[in-house]
Point group: C2
Chain length 352, copies 2
């Protein structure tokens, strides 16, 4: 076992004392970095990049070489699980991810195979192993998956969607079919995350990117219930691995999310992090929550926003700094540097 040299992130997730607020950035290995664009061009397409453990490892480490980040996150795609189920993932330029074989009815649901992630997603596990070894204890490695509801939106729509017409029709008009689908996907996600832990992931994040498209009741029924089951399975098999639940647009449902036994709730920028802290009373750590668009403003404005988020959270442990959603391709890396510098300057005062 290599010794972990920077445990700020894991300590913050456990709400233990740290010297400064740890930070990582959703999509920190991404198109805003010229070195990422170079590796991706070398790989061919995005699929060739995340299916190649050596290149996935390379891009995972790129932001760590540039910035003093406190965690690495596995470079992969959120749609690996449905792809492994046979849906045929491909990317259309400017259109985002698509599936050749969307799941349109009960017959298609029943035909979905049960996954063995170590075999069916061996390239992901190889990437985790490769990254873990390359990190050599520098910072912890976060494994991740899309939430069942989020994966199912792509599986039923056949790709991205503006109004989730098909997937919501299935949920509202054929709830049994939807629950059968979500059950299958949840089982696969739990197995996938536990396989990532066995391969070396030290924390897990579930990205519920589209949970916020649901009504409050439908969110509990079709998204949160399944994330809860997954957290329970992780806690049963890997009790020491902290789990972060991130529902974009889920700010109204924090009290329900906290009851999932997750260790940390990820917040988008619509929530007031200080208010959420008072509401949750220290039962979970909180991650977030700067609007990625602030990174388009000059460094002085970025510093102001970092200061205001630290101030809103207030003194004491349990805060992981992050954006409220992924960093966008147009951001100047120097502005990320400004964010991290501001956090290093300003956050120690909150941890005395």
């Amino acid at each position: 076992m290599t010794v972990l040299q920077n445990d700020r992130f894991l300590k913050a997730l456990r709400r233990e004392q740290v010297d400064r607020t740890p930070v990582w950035i959703m999509r920190q290995a991404g198109r805003y970095l010229p070195e990422y664009r170079a590796t991706r061009a070398q790989a061919g397409g995005i699929i060739d990049l995340f299916r190649n453990p050596k290149l996935a490892c390379e891009v995972t480490l790129q932001p760590l070489d540039r910035f003093e980040l406190d965690a690495a996150i596995l470079f992969s795609d959120i749609l690996t699980v449905p792809d492994a189920m046979g849906l045929g993932l491909y990317f259309e330029t400017g259109e985002g991810p698509r599936f050749k074989n969307p799941v349109l009815d009960r017959k298609a649901v029943d035909a979905l195979p049960v996954l063995d992630p170590d075999k069916d997603l061996d390239y992901v596990m190889a990437a985790v192993t490769e990254i873990k070894s390359a990190l050599n204890g520098r910072v912890p490695l976060i494994g991740f998956s899309g939430s069942p509801w989020t994966l199912v939106t792509y599986m039923v729509e056949g790709g991205s969607s503006k109004d989730f017409a098909r997937v919501k029709t299935m949920a509202y008009a054929e709830p049994e079919t939807m629950h059968a689908l979500l059950t299958k996907v949840s089982d696969a996600v739990a197995a996938y995350l536990l396989a990532q832990v066995r391969a070396g992931a030290q924390a897990l994040q579930i990205f519920d990117t589209w949970g916020g498209s649901l009504s409050h009741a439908a969110y509990r029924e079709f998204s949160l219930a399944y994330m809860k089951e997954i957290v329970a399975k992780i806690k049963a098999e890997a009790p020491d691995i902290p789990v972060i639940l991130f529902t974009k647009g889920g700010g109204l449902w924090i009290e329900d999310i906290v009851n999932s036994s997750c260790d940390c709730v990820g917040l988008d920028w619509t929530a007031d992090i200080g208010r959420v802290r008072r509401l949750t009373g220290g039962r979970v750590a909180l991650q977030g929550n700067m609007d990625p668009a602030i990174l388009r403003a000059p460094p002085a404005r970025i510093r102001e926003e970092v200061s205001s988020i630290l101030d809103s959270y207030g003194p004491g442990p349990g805060h992981v700094f992050n954006l409220g959603h992924g960093i966008t391709p147009d951001i100047n890396p120097e502005h990320v540097e400004a964010l991290i510098r501001a956090l290093h300057d300003l956050s120690p005062a909150y941890h005395q």
Copy 2:
């Protein structure tokens, strides 16, 4: 003066006793109705439709002839104000609204004219007069405008946007320019709404469709502050006209919105209307909040959802039933009939 034959909607906005929960539907005059599609085809394009007072009146009344709705809403576009300011509104097939002359810098902001809505938007005032006369007291007429922030997103982006990159950059990097722009647009919106009242509108709704894209602090600074000013101006000149503020994605900010002196808060479907009622303690009426996607489900499921929303709001006055956002073009009008039938059957029990 014609006598108003159905005042349920206005009474509910004032939180007065009614016999059943009033209902109207955002975009009730819209593409899901074959008669609307026929009139629109006759007009030519969407611009020709809302610029023609006779046809705008015709489509405004169409849903009332089909369904027992408790209010009519002026058929118009939310972008009439920036169009009248010289931005050159046009519609690209499948792309939505676009502006020929987006507002990209301070110079463009300073060049924006001050509007005289009675002159510069005379076709809207003519439509209000025409509709009011055709209604002949059947139900009250709602006037509306986009919120300043929502209009400004289109004015700066030049059309619809996924991530609001340009408009947020202006807000975060050049806040003085943004405030100058919002001030001009707010003044125009207040004048526009007051002109609609003079022409006959009996209630007003401000559609803040994109306020939910902002952080909590930025929402207060760039959206809510200007809606508050508009409400104050309306209350000063037309104190009896109820004002509804609808911020899509604004569920986390209800307490701030209530402090705007509006009469009613419109909710999207992510909020639990009963919880919002307890939070606001009867200081405002609440409008909403069924997920429009439920209308794709069979009538029995629609009835269940109506029942659950009525039950969540609970007994007593102050509820205007609506969807949480506009009805989509693919909805079967019979399903709207099912919604209204369910509301007529179930809601009287909540008003005894």
